[in-house]
């Protein structure tokens, strides 16, 4: 039995109960020591003027040793009293000291087995395993084994996601996609670039502030670019910021997507990726409800798109993750995204379905919103200008002149991205301003409809539909569709659900 082969990995067993890996204690101690060292260095250097550096250094080292020791001890107790087992029916995690806890998940409910390993865990040959049930009821739907041996983790993943097959196919089934270094060119044209650029300046200011060197930094900058005018200086700083942002976003891309591979294993979708922190995410076929092809503005202009899965019980994005676990393809040429979406979905619905445009009234609504928001900004500035200073009055008309075309352009763009359509097994909706999102949702995965209308929509003969689903954010929208067309669409997409509540207009 495969269960037994996993079981032998642990020494202390009792009815199949096994322990986590003891090296977790080292990982915890070193992690804490690393964080504390990072905090201590600026403090020690900052105090160098008042206290001899060897003294503060010794105190800091002592404190680090003490705190990491305590952390190691706490983790040792956690390790000592935590056991888990995989029986024929259930996966169970037990903690039995002072406070007794038992979490038990039926194996037939297991939908995800995700493995992550940060660099330190990788050095020690460990991995964290998260076993999920696909329910979105938070913490209780997961069993986290933190950590187990890497090979045990791999074995658990294969064991838990295989149903009836005892004979496992060799690892690495048919490949759907693998990293192409040409995709690297899409990494800088995203929001990460300006964010990282700005963050770099912030970091320089922060660090120089720790060392009380902010004045010196400004001085050095003035020395370096002394000959430049203010405009020239700003241009140079922006250029540096952009350069840092580009390098940063490239680095981030490599860290996240190094050795990216998407494959199919026993019908499940398996994705592995990561340079320093490695990740392996498995998605059971039964959880899949569709895919979403997303074209952020920069990527769209470069002819690229990324692909997200729509699946039940996805773990939420956490601070540790730099991308959503639901992204199964980083920005890649549209043709690749199209192929991956079709392959995962088993249908070209997401990109091949003809989407029906929405009525003109939807465009006028958007143009009206655009003009109202510009008017609101201009009016606010004008009122303030009338009360306070004439400068704001000028700002008011300038902003009206500049913002109006921008806002109208965004309105038109938003309208042009609206669309919906039906494929054999999927319904397709498209919307977005900036990022264009095209979702293909399984028609059998629709678990209800929400239909909303505002007084303005009713007058224009429009309504907004949301197809609700158990996956991801819970609903996929069809904005501002003509009443008749929208209701026909919803009734046809999920036969029998809406039809009893429709009537012919007299």
């Amino acid at each position: 039995m495969t269960v037994a082969s996993v079981a032998q990995a642990s020494a202390r067993t009792e009815e199949g109960w096994r322990q986590l890996h003891p090296r977790t204690v080292w990982v915890t101690a070193l992690t804490i020591a690393g964080i504390l060292a990072g905090l201590a260095v600026p403090i020690v250097i900052g105090m160098a003027g008042d206290v001899p550096i060897w003294l503060s250094g010794v105190v800091a080292l002592g404190a680090i040793a003490l705190v990491s020791g305590v952390a190691a001890l706490v983790d040792l107790m956690r390790w000592r009293y935590t056991t888990y087992r995989v029986t024929d029916e259930r996966v169970e995690l037990r903690y039995a000291w002072v406070l007794h806890k038992l979490r038990s998940v039926p194996r037939e409910r297991v939908r995800t087995v995700d493995m992550t390993a940060n660099p330190l865990q990788r050095v020690f040959g460990l991995a964290k395993v998260t076993i999920g049930t696909g329910q979105q009821s938070g913490e209780h739907s997961h069993v986290t084994l933190d950590p187990v041996d890497k090979t045990v983790a791999e074995e658990l993943r294969r064991l838990l996601l295989h149903r009836d097959t005892v004979v496992a196919s060799p690892p690495g089934g048919p490949e759907i996609a693998a990293l192409s270094w040409r995709w690297l060119r899409y990494a800088p044209i995203s929001v990460t670039t300006p964010i990282l650029g700005a963050a770099a300046f912030g970091a320089v200011m922060q660090v120089s502030d720790w060392f009380k060197l902010q004045g010196a930094v400004f001085h050095a900058v003035r020395q370096l670019f002394g000959g430049l005018s203010v405009v020239g200086l700003v241009a140079v700083l922006v250029a540096i910021g952009v350069a840092v942002g580009v390098i940063g976003s490239l680095g981030l891309f490599v860290e996240m997507w190094y050795r990216y591979r998407l494959s199919r294993e026993d019908g499940n979708i398996v994705m592995t990726r990561g340079l320093l922190t490695t990740r392996s995410l498995s998605l059971e076929r039964r959880r899949l409800r569709g895919v979403e092809v997303i074209e952020p503005l920069g990527a769209r202009l470069a002819g690229a798109a990324r692909v997200d899965v729509i699946a039940t019980g996805m773990t939420k994005k956490t601070d540790e993750d730099k991308t959503d676990p639901k992204t199964i393809l980083p920005p890649a040429p549209y043709e690749t995204a199209r192929r991956v979406a079709a392959d995962v979905l088993g249908s070209p619905a997401a990109t091949a379905t003809a989407v029906i445009r929405h009525p003109r009234a939807a465009l006028w609504r958007r143009v009206r919103w655009a003009l109202y928001s510009v008017a609101a900004v201009a009016a606010a500035l004008a009122v303030l200008g009338w009360l306070l200073t004439d400068v704001l009055l000028h700002l008011a008309w300038i902003s009206a002149v500049v913002l109006t075309p921008v806002a109208v352009l965004l309105a038109v763009e938003s309208y042009r991205n609206l669309g919906h359509g039906l494929a054999k097994d999927h319904l397709v909706t498209r919307h977005g301003v900036g990022a264009r999102r095209t979702a293909a949702l399984e028609r059998t995965g629709v678990i209800g409809w929400t239909i909303t209308s505002s007084p303005f929509q009713r007058r224009a003969g429009l309504l907004t539909l949301h197809a609700t689903t158990a996956a991801n954010k819970g609903a996929y929208p069809v904005y501002d569709v003509a009443t008749n067309e929208g209701l026909h669409f919803a009734a046809e997409a999920v036969p029998g659900l809406l039809t009893p509540f429709l009537e012919h207009e007299n």
Binding site: S454, P455, G474, H488, F501, L502, E503
Partner: protein
């Protein structure tokens, strides 16, 4: 189905006492706002004209709202349960229709706040596996709500599977 179609209203209205319940709720808010501003006006002499103006504006908006909104809302709020699905309509200016098939219902709750209690009203909340919010039927008579919850619970218990 061809030609011009529209959503028909769900079959049942909520309890007529809901109108008085909504009105009372709005009346309480109006009294609280007016009282707070009034007390401030009494205490802070320099700002008195402005605060009294604020009271006037609040009541000018609040009192018509207190009368119009509940009557309008009562015309809109409707619900229906068939063998196949739960169907609700809520809102007043902004209206919302929700449909959830019986087979996808996960939990059914009834709740009543202190004010609802005073009018012998309850609300029924029907959740599905979607993260986009439950169906809510507010302003039902106690007994109607209890019967409805009972019926829905029986149906959902008969359904196997995880309703996703």
């Amino acid at each position: 189905m061809e030609g011009q179609i529209r959503l028909r209203p769900p079959r049942h209205r909520v309890d007529p006492r809901a109108v008085r319940y909504w009105m009372t709720g709005e009346a309480i808010s109006n009294v609280v706002v007016a009282a707070v501003l009034g007390v401030l006006a009494w205490l802070i002499e320099p700002a008195r004209p402005w605060l009294l103006l604020a009271v006037g504006v609040a009541l000018l908006v609040g009192v018509p709202y207190m009368i119009v909104m509940p009557l309008w809302r009562y015309r809109v709020h409707r619900w229906e349960v068939t063998d196949e699905a739960v169907y609700t309509r809520t809102g007043w200016l902004w209206q919302e229709w929700r449909i959830a098939p019986m087979s996808r219902i996960q939990t059914v709750d009834t709740a009543r706040g202190p004010l609802e209690q005073a009018f012998r009203l309850s609300s029924v909340t029907v959740t599905t596996a979607s993260a986009a919010g439950p169906l809510k039927i507010k302003g039902l008579d106690h007994e109607v709500a209890a019967d409805l919850a009972q019926k829905l619970t029986e149906v959902t218990q008969a359904n196997r599977g995880d309703a996703t």
